[in-house]
């Protein structure tokens, strides 16, 4: 074995093959790769070529390197390298593995397993035999037997069958076993200790040293075994002690509590501070949950020592109800016992009977009602019991009101207080909220709970302190007093609805529960007679419950706290299903101490995390993978993938460029799309205008005018839709300077003073619009002055080629384009309108412009509800109607030209046809 720091070679002579690498390199170098094969029809022409360049083809350097790497990896792999090798055995003899397989070894068993596997592998390599000795008894009677000298493979199998036991190791028996081992040569002894000091350690160590060199393995501090001590109840908490052998370093664990059915109930962090060897953990839980806890263990710490099995003893709070033997069966709803029974039964174990009967067995709480007063003898018994820790809960009543006794927390006045009676001014009183330091703190007080009658306490100095609950006027309702270890609680009213409706409310249940929780659990077994408890389920070394081993025996119940845990009595559950008792390891293992200093010559080391790794399979796998890669490359060089993968060089570059281009294109698409969307939007009015008939108005730049124009065309559009086959869409405002006008059959142009003349482009556009059959209605919108004051109109149309105008003659087509109209009123009625002279106008004499000043828009304009926005003068609504008709005629004129003019000739035509 050749060791080079982290790597060692088991078969180093193979490495000599590395010397052959240069030869392989040379051989590979002169053998060129196979050429690419191409079938080519025009090969006859190639035959005639002379090849100019005659450099011999060489294997590319990277392929050469790859193949050399393959060979190197193969050689290295065959030389069986080990990563992180363990040290060699020092002694010449066999390997003796002494394994502590008690409860303390379970938590860190995996590490032991890997260590033993490593050891045995090493023994196999060095051809040594192995002796395996365990130190925990398997059965109470049989001694521990060491194994024979085993082949490493057999030893491995034997160890794999070994499991940690749930009881402590037996050093004495192990020492005996070690003494039985006789070897020819000095052995390599490895003691896989559990790290816990035990009795009879000295002879054990001596027995180890007798065999040869001893190496001791101990658990690291963070993996040391934990021991949970028996739990007890403290108030509302379950308290248990967690102990560890070595308290030097801080550590954190997590304790878990489970119910019978395996459901997790609680989790509690356990933080060891440096120097803390043991720590008290407490689980504070509501009673119902606490009563369901069946098992407590430490998370990620599988060991029988870290498991607590809880039994009935921790859960019991028997409540005794002092009841007359013959219960008032006739009228149960009037009985105190009935209400108490209903309130207490859900969360506690109820017993009924006389005081003497109840006190025969351990009991936590005794409830005494007014219907069953105690005799003097009973009072003495109760006093003694209270002093020992009992809790007495009393309810007041007529009897107590008449004659008080000593079993009350506060002196009671004779007589009771009655509220709200027939002759009283007072009303029944509700309860006040509970004080912070009252046991009832936090309970909600329902307002409908009222007290009619109560007994009153004598005012004393400490009455305040003893009061747990009071009425709204401050009189105490519940008082309590400590007596010895116990307590007396008095409720100043009855437990039946006679004196109050408290027993009918949920508050009554809650208050009783709080009071019962104050009591101590009954710790000692309540069994009257000792009984034999058969093992029901026992823990294995890892703290798992299972069927008991055959060695397990039954235990007398009285011995349960004194029994020695061992093969006969493994920790677990004993007894039958009705009365089950838990036996925990801490019964016999009372404390754990770390393994002390060892005698010199014993090497102590911690179980290692990292173990040696055989690199052979990895190296060979890598070589194989590279070989496959090489095969792929060879195929590639021969052009077998040529169709899919273009060779390196310009092709690859071209492909990359193509990919880049494609990516760029893809990236460019969204931008393109956006541009397209934009242009669609900008074309939107055009699309709309060409889809439907749209009336347009010129945007003057004056907001109010534009708004009126729009409203006017909407109003006119409605009239058109109602009365004609023209169904215009929403009107469109246009700016002749920028917008295309060709789509609109008619444009309404309100002339304002502030309006600028159209630009050259606008003039061109308007000109082409008029020339191609468009029509513009100019509205000067000034009453009376008509053409005389049309300066603004002149300014605006200065650039336009408007034909000569004339006042609209009476027989103009406009007057009968749809309606027969002599006049074209708008908001005003008086002004004439002007059209192109028939002989001047192109397009069959249809006038391209209509110029008026009647402010048609104001007459047409409607608001959202379709009502006219402006009044019209002087004709009112009739005139508005005519204004609409004028608008209809103008639109019809724009759409149908002088079609109606032809109709004039119909009589003549008919006449001619008739002839």
């Amino acid at each position: 074995m050749l060791s080079l720091g982290l790597v060692a070679f088991t078969a180093p002579w193979i490495l000599a093959a590395l010397a052959a690498l240069p030869i392989i390199w040379w051989l590979l170098r002169v053998t060129p790769p196979a050429p690419r094969l191409v079938r080519f029809p025009a090969i006859r022409l190639l035959f005639r070529l002379r090849e100019k360049e005659d450099t011999p083809a060489k294997t590319p350097w990277w392929l050469l390197l790859l193949r050399l790497l393959v060979v190197t990896l193969a050689i290295l792999g065959l030389s069986q390298p080990l990563w992180n090798p363990g040290g060699a055995f020092t002694a010449s003899g066999p390997l003796v593995l002494v394994v502590d397989n008690g409860w303390a070894a379970a938590a860190n068993w995996d590490k032991r397993r890997t260590l033993v596997a490593d050891m045995i592998e090493k023994a196999e390599r060095e051809k040594r035999q192995v002796v395996l000795v365990h130190t925990a008894r398997k059965s109470a009677s049989a001694p521990i037997e060491p194994s024979r000298l085993l082949r490493p493979a057999d030893a491995k199998a034997l160890f794999q069958a070994m499991v940690p036991e749930p009881w402590p190791v037996d050093r004495k028996a192990a020492t005996e076993a070690l003494r039985k081992v006789s070897l020819d040569a000095r052995a390599n002894v490895v003691w896989l200790s559990d790290g816990i000091e035990s009795a009879d350690q000295e002879p054990f160590l001596a027995a180890l040293r007798r065999l040869g060199t001893v190496a001791v393995q101990v658990d690291p501090a963070e993996a040391q075994p934990l021991l949970l001590h028996a739990p007890r109840l403290a108030g509302e908490s379950i308290v248990f002690r967690v102990e560890r052998p070595d308290g030097e370093r801080p550590a954190a664990y997590s304790a878990r509590a489970f119910a019978d059915d395996g459901r997790g109930i609680a989790r509690q962090r356990i933080d060891f501070r440096p120097g803390e060897k043991s720590i008290e953990a407490s689980l504070r839980l509501p009673t119902e949950l606490r009563n369901r806890i069946a098992r407590i263990d430490i998370e990620r710490h599988a060991s029988a020592g870290a498991v607590l099995l809880l039994d009935e003893r921790l859960r019991r709070r028997p409540v005794g109800l002092v009841a007359p033997t013959a219960q008032g069966g006739s009228q149960p709803l009037l009985s105190d016992i009935y209400y108490l029974d209903r309130a207490l039964a859900p969360f506690s174990e109820l017993r009924r009977g006389s005081v003497a009967e109840l006190l025969q067995r351990p009991i936590s709480v005794v409830v005494l009602t007014d219907t069953a007063p105690a005799s003097a003898e009973e009072q003495t018994q109760l006093k003694r019991w209270i002093n020992e820790g009992g809790v007495l809960i009393r309810f007041a009543g007529p009897l107590l009101a008449e004659a008080s006794d000593e079993l009350v927390p506060v002196p009671i006045r004779t007589g009771d207080r009655n509220f709200g009676g027939a002759l009283s001014w007072t009303k029944p009183l509700p309860l006040a909220n509970f004080d912070q330091n009252s046991p009832f703190a936090g309970l909600a007080v329902p307002k409908e709970v009222t007290i009619n009658r109560q007994v009153l306490a004598e005012p004393t100095v400490d009455l305040q302190k003893k009061t747990w609950a009071r009425l709204e006027d401050g009189t105490p309702l519940v008082t309590a007093d400590r007596r010895g270890k116990g307590m007396v609680v008095l409720v100043h009213t009855t437990a039946n609805p006679d004196w109050s409706n408290l027993p009918l409310s949920g508050l009554f249940v809650e208050m009783l529960r709080r009071m019962v929780e104050l009591s101590h659990g009954v710790a000692a077994g309540g069994e009257d007679r000792p009984q034999s408890l058969a093992p029901h389920q026992t823990l294995d070394g890892f703290g798992r419950l299972g069927t008991p081993p055959p060695s397990a025996l039954a235990i007398e119940s009285s011995m349960l706290d004194k029994v020695a845990i061992g093969p006969q009595h493994p920790p677990g559950l004993y007894g039958d299903a009705a009365s089950r008792r838990g036996l925990n390891l801490s019964v016999s293992v009372t404390s754990v101490r770390p393994l002390g200093d060892l005698p010199s010559g014993m090497e102590k080391s911690v179980y290692r995390d990292s173990t040696e790794v055989d690199l052979k399979p990895w190296l060979l796998a890598a070589a194989l993978a590279l070989l496959l890669f090489d095969l792929f490359l060879s195929f590639f060089l021969r052009g077998l993938f040529i169709r899919r993968i273009p060779g390196p060089g310009p092709h690859a570059a071209a492909k990359a460029a193509a990919v880049a281009l494609a990516l760029a294109f893809v990236a460019g698409v969204p931008a393109d799309g956006a541009a397209q969307t934009r242009s669609t939007e900008s074309r939107d009015p055009a699309i709309r205008a060409t889809k439907e008939t749209v009336l347009a108005y010129v945007l003057t730049g004056d907001g109010e005018t534009d708004r009126v124009s729009r409203a006017a065309l909407i109003g006119l559009g409605r009239i058109l839709t109602e009365r004609t086959s023209v169904e215009p869409a929403q009107p469109q405002g246009v700016n002749p300077n920028t917008d295309e006008l060709a789509f609109y059959p008619v444009i309404y142009w309100p002339v304002t003073a502030s309006q600028a003349a159209p630009t050259r482009e606008g003039v061109n556009r308007l000109q082409s619009y008029l020339r191609n059959g468009g029509m513009i209605i100019f509205d000067v919108r000034n009453q009376g002055s008509a053409m005389e004051d049309a300066g603004h109109l002149r300014r605006i149309v200065a650039g336009l080629n408007i034909p000569a105008l004339q006042r609209m003659p009476d027989d103009h087509v406009l007057t009968r384009a749809y309606y027969l109209l002599p006049r074209f009123p708008g908001r005003f009625a008086s002004n004439p309108i002007w059209v192109a002279r028939a002989d001047q106008a192109a397009k069959d004499g249809v006038s391209p412009v209509i110029i008026g000043s009647n402010d048609w828009a104001a007459a047409w304009a409607v608001d959202e509800r379709g009502r006219g926005m402006f009044p019209v003068t002087p004709g009112g609504e009739v005139q508005r109607e005519y204004a609409y008709r004028a608008g209809v005629n103008m639109v019809m004129y724009a759409l149908s030209g002088n079609y109606k003019a032809d109709q004039v000739h119909i009589p003549t035509i008919l006449k001619r046809l008739g002839q």
Partner: protein, 297 residues
């Protein structure tokens, strides 16, 4: 070898390509001396449709031949004579050799497919014009009419491999004088062989066309690196250590070969054209059409 299905598909393609051109009437000053009636007027009296001349009735002429309308205009009897019209016979030779069954890329058609396509399209055009077409090497007589096309397609698409040495030019076959012969193939045979064959046909009075079909890879030799070339017709193989070094020389050789073919054609008054398979078949067809329709006499 392509499957039957693709071969049949080829015929549809050919019909499609041909459908865009009018029927091809081979321009022929002199038509092969066959007795078959056709469309080429022989400028002498014979069987045909077109009017040729009126002639005085002579004794012995069939009474049926008298043109009564003409005769009615005068006192004499006239006989209407028609021009002798004969059909031109065209022999096609799409190269069936293995070297044609090759393409350099999957996206390209095989040379043979292209040759067959062109041959089929050409037959379709010719048959529609009433010319007579035959496939060289089958030993069949030129045929015409609707049935002819089916038979030609059968011959072209599913002809068996040629007997004799593969890759060679077809064996000489006596053709009638003034027939037209069209070689469609890669014409990779040595120039001397081609020259010998063409001269022999020319001497027999056959006019012809060398239609040279090449794969673009054969034109440009786009390979690189150490390459082993293998022929398709058992020509052997050749290892070229660095193809890029011989590429220019190969191109020169290929150009020389093409020039040689063109020279051979020109020497006997034939036509030569080069067509690469990455070009559209319609272009090739149009070229053939134009050339054949005005074949210099």
């Amino acid at each position: 070898m392509a499957t039957t299905e693709t071969r049949v598909h080829l015929r549809q393609e050919a019909e499609l390509a041909a459908a865009r051109l009018p029927p091809l009437m081979v321009a022929a000053e002199r038509v092969a001396a066959t007795v078959q009636q056709g469309v080429h007027g022989r400028r002498r009296v014979g069987m045909g449709e077109a009017f040729w001349q009126f002639r005085r009735y002579e004794a012995g002429d069939s009474v049926r031949k008298i043109d009564w309308r003409q005769s009615a205009k005068t006192d004499k009897l006239f006989i209407r004579e028609t021009e002798w019209a004969a059909a031109q016979s065209v022999w096609l030779w799409p190269d069936p050799s293995p070297s044609m069954q090759w393409r350099s890329k999957r996206s390209l058609p095989e040379k043979r497919d292209r040759a067959d396509l062109i041959a089929l399209a050409l037959s379709s055009l010719l048959v529609r014009a009433g010319e007579r077409v035959a496939v060289l090497g089958t030993g069949e007589r030129p045929i015409s009419g609707k049935v002819a096309l089916d038979r030609l397609a059968q011959r072209i698409l599913f002809r068996s491999k040629p007997a004799g040495k593969p890759g060679d030019l077809p064996a000489f076959e006596p053709l009638p004088r003034y027939a037209t012969l069209i070689f469609i193939g890669d014409l990779l045979a040595p120039l001397e062989e081609t020259d010998r064959l063409v001269r022999r046909y020319a001497a027999a009075g056959v006019r012809g066309y060398l239609f040279h079909i090449l794969d673009p890879a054969e034109q440009s030799l786009p390979y690189a690196g150490r390459t082993r070339f293998e022929g398709l017709e058992q020509e052997g193989h050749l290892l070229v250590k660095r193809v890029e070094t011989v590429r220019d020389e190969y191109k020169a050789k290929m150009t020389e070969h093409q020039a040689g073919l063109a020279d051979i054609a020109r020497a006997v008054g034939w036509n030569y054209a080069l067509h690469l398979t990455d070009q559209a078949p319609e272009a090739a067809l149009l070229r053939l059409y134009v050339n054949l329709a005005q074949l210099p006499g």
